[in-house]
């Protein structure tokens, strides 16, 4: 049996930043920890496609996969391009085996990779404001010092623009990424019509991304090679793996991979015994600690808690940012020439904040040139040769607005642990579309063609933003609630630091808040330990 002062379960964004706060304090991180495979891709996406190196790179293996892994979407439901490429499949590898699930209407993605689902994130980091934290027992001022510390640690690019009122302080931001002609045109048109658009509740600006535009902490700035969807661990695009490995290298934390934590138990003296299954041999191993921090991802953390309580009855809340995609076409850019140097993920952000709409809606605007064109070739409504022409001439004219819907607890949306040990996820479909109809009119003012009928509504779960199973409450009343410091009710030393403890899910990427909140909880716990 191994002992540590503090055991952290999981190495994703929350676990890593809880460990970062507590580094040097006797921390042991337990993790399944699947590693990213090596990628031979080096250079620009389009340069490689046009003139692949004669040796050393097999483009078919890198972009499609020796087992045709990237063709998943042909016969299976939609899968994000961030998870589809052969070298990115490690992120969700073995998830069905390690944590079997049943679901009626929820495409849950679970990761047992080192760094977790953050390996597939869009790197968007946004501060929660007062409105976003409605229902939480904490305020923005509680998180601000940690937002700042993370910004300093990892490097975030962005701008102080119209979106600052939604995204919070621009302190410490690196300059924004270079924008391509498509995005620049959008922003130019927005600037010219800003007052009218703002009156209609529409605001646009640059995204805040954990992507370096200047050298930072030994990491080089982004090279605009557009390989985000195909190559893991670009040093310029931050993932928690960087910080985790740095802490391990410096001996500030201990890290044990190959372990699937299944349950915990508290002894009378307050010691916590953690049981983990060795993924290779299958035997159970136990660890002892004074404090346990669960950061295994909202779904898996909930599962560990339910399993530890042998509870197959209780239904825990399940929150998710429902997602829709609205394609926009700028007719004046049909036939525009290829730009090879760009960032393949978020190009712009926009927020719809109309007074007659109940909540703000945040959206991210993407170009589509960073994926294989075969990914969307058959989404055009023409015949085959027409679609090939559309992929060629229409792609430079396309922007896609990805909308995130906010979510609050509802009795129809829940998870539970069934007697077979599987996580059951129940999520009722929502009626979506009203906001897209409004936005189509706004985008028309900006010179973009679209129609509500072109909008795609993804099955819930495709945002990877899961939350709310063990929510923070000012005064926790039930055993599956946590207090403002993340401590699970009825336990002496079990803390929840991932999004399982979110009280609500606003229309905003939640990663930054999850990281800052994990640091905040870890800091409180550190004080209590002292």
């Amino acid at each position: 049996m191994t002992s540590a002062d503090i055991i952290i379960v999981g190495s994703g964004a929350a676990g890593t930043f809880a460990a970062y706060q507590l580094r040097g304090k006797g921390v042991l991180v337990l993790d399944v920890g699947l590693e990213a495979p090596a990628s031979a891709l080096d250079g620009n996406f389009y340069d490689l496609k046009e003139n692949p190196p004669t040796a050393g790179v097999d483009l078919h293996a890198e972009l499609i996969g020796a087992r045709f892994e990237s063709l998943h979407n042909i016969f299976n439901p939609y899968l994000s391009p961030k998870l589809k490429a052969p070298r990115m499949r490690f992120i969700t590898e073995n998830a069905a085996k390690l944590s079997p699930m049943r679901t009626n209407n929820f495409d849950a993605a679970m990761s047992f990779a080192v760094g977790g689902l953050a390996n597939a994130w869009g790197a968007g980091l946004y501060r929660y404001n007062e409105q976003d934290l409605v229902g939480f027992p904490i305020a923005p001022r509680d998180l601000e010092p940690y937002y700042d510390a993370i910004t300093d640690k990892i490097g975030i690019c962005g701008a102080d623009d119209d979106l600052t009122r939604f995204f919070g302080s621009p302190r410490g931001l690196q300059p924004p990424l270079k924008i391509d002609a498509n995005g620049a045109k959008f922003l130019h048109r927005y600037e010219r019509r800003r007052q009218k658009l703002n009156r209609a509740g529409f605001f646009a600006g640059r995204p805040r991304l954990a992507v370096l535009t200047q050298e930072h902490d030994g990491r080089a700035p982004y090279r605009y090679d557009a390989l985000e969807f195909f190559r893991p661990n670009d040093p310029a695009v931050y993932t928690p793996v960087f910080t985790l490995k740095e802490m391990v290298r410096r001996g500030e934390i201990a890290y044990q991979a190959g372990l699937l934590v299944e349950r915990y138990a508290e002894e009378r003296d307050g010691t916590i015994v953690v049981s983990a299954r060795d993924c290779a041999g299958g035997e159970t191993r136990t660890f002892r600690a004074r404090r346990l921090i669960l950061a295994a991802g909202a779904l898996n953390t909930a599962k560990i808690v339910l399993r530890s309580n042998e509870d197959h009855q209780t239904r825990l809340p399940l929150l998710d940012n429902n997602v829709s995609y609205l394609p926009l076409v700028d007719p004046l850019r049909i036939g525009a020439g290829l730009e090879r140097e760009f960032f393949a993920a978020a190009m712009l952000n926009a927020v719809y904040a109309a007074s007659d709409y109940p909540s703000n809606i945040q959206m991210t605007l993407y170009g589509v040139a960073g994926t294989l064109r075969s990914d969307f070739l058959f989404d055009f409504p023409l015949s085959l040769r027409g679609n090939l022409a559309a992929a060629k001439y229409l792609t430079p004219a396309i922007l896609v607005a990805q909308l995130f819907y906010p979510d609050r607890p509802a009795p129809t949306n829940y998870l539970r642990l069934n007697p077979q040990g599987e996580l059951e996820l129940h999520y009722a479909s929502k009626t979506l579309g009203a906001i897209e109809r409004r936005l189509v009119k706004i985008f028309r003012r900006l010179g973009y063609w679209s129609a509500p009928s072109l909008c795609r509504y993804l099955t819930p779960g495709n945002s990877f933003h899961y939350a709310g199973a063990l929510p923070m409450k000012a005064a926790p009343a039930a055993r599956y609630e946590t207090d403002g410091n993340g401590q699970l009710a009825g336990t002496g030393g079990v803390y929840i630091v991932d999004a399982a403890n979110f009280s609500a899910l606003p229309s905003k990427n939640h990663s930054f808040t999850m990281m800052a909140n994990a640091m905040r909880i870890a800091a409180q716990m550190e004080r209590s330990l002292a």
């Binding site: 389009y46 496609k49 046009e50 003139n51 692949p52 483009l59 078919h60 972009l63 499609i64 087992r67 045709f68 990237s70 063709l71 042909i74 016969f75 073995n94 069905a96 085996k97 390690l98 944590s99 079997p100 699937l260 299944e262 299954r277 993924c279 290779a280 041999g281 299958g282 049909i334 036939g335 525009a336 020439g337 290829l338 294989l372 064109r373 075969s374 070739l377 058959f378 409504p381 023409l382 015949s383 085959l384 040769r385 027409g386 090939l388 022409a389 559309a390 992929a391 060629k392 001439y393 229409l394 792609t395 430079p396 077979q420 040990g421 599987e422």
Partner: protein, 175 residues
């Protein structure tokens, strides 16, 4: 029992009960997916698939398919759990000069994952990574007028193909 990693993984499951197998990690045929050719691949089947790749490639690009693409296409069909083709032979249809492009459009409108669209998609993915096809997919110089005219003509062509495809789907009972 063999002491391999695979065997250990099969023995253990998070529920404490044997999982037995993980379909994600298996070839589709082993995973029980409905696929063509569950029997071991014969050279005839492979040749048939390569001939199919040739037909689809001609429709899409108007030229013969490179040998590498044909081989990969045959391997992809062997590996992926694609929708089974109904009782029709693409080669026979092609010989009879049936307009498979029109047929595909009509089928796609009812079911984007139909057997024919899936096969065309596989072929598109396979050729897109080949440098020879770069300019088929990518417009690297500004061609505003050519782009607009091409798309306009292709829209008219698609309307014609859609009507023709509907008729073909009924004629060959593929709906």
């Amino acid at each position: 029992m063999k002491p391999s990693t695979e065997t250990s993984a099969v023995r253990w499951s998070p529920t404490g009960k044997p999982v037995g197998r993980n379909p994600e990690q298996e070839l589709p045929t082993k995973a029980g997916a409905r696929v063509e050719g569950t029997e071991p691949e014969s050279s005839t089947t492979r040749e048939k698939r390569q001939a199919e790749a040739e037909i689809l490639h001609r429709i899409l690009f108007g030229s013969d398919a490179p040998a590498e693409v044909k081989q990969r296409y045959a391997l992809a069909l062997e590996t992926l759990p694609l929708a089974a083709a109904p009782q029709c032979d693409l080669a026979a249809l092609s010989e009879r000069q049936v307009d498979l492009e029109a047929m595909e459009l009509a089928l796609r409108r009812n079911n984007p994952s139909n057997f024919l669209t899936q096969r065309f998609r596989v072929l598109c993915y396979l050729v897109e990574t080949q440098p020879d096809y770069f300019h088929r997919f990518v417009n690297d110089r500004p061609r505003f007028l050519a782009g607009a005219i091409t798309l306009g003509l292709m829209t008219l062509r698609a309307a014609y193909k859609a009507l023709k495809g509907r008729w073909l789907v009924k004629r060959y009972d593929l709906g």
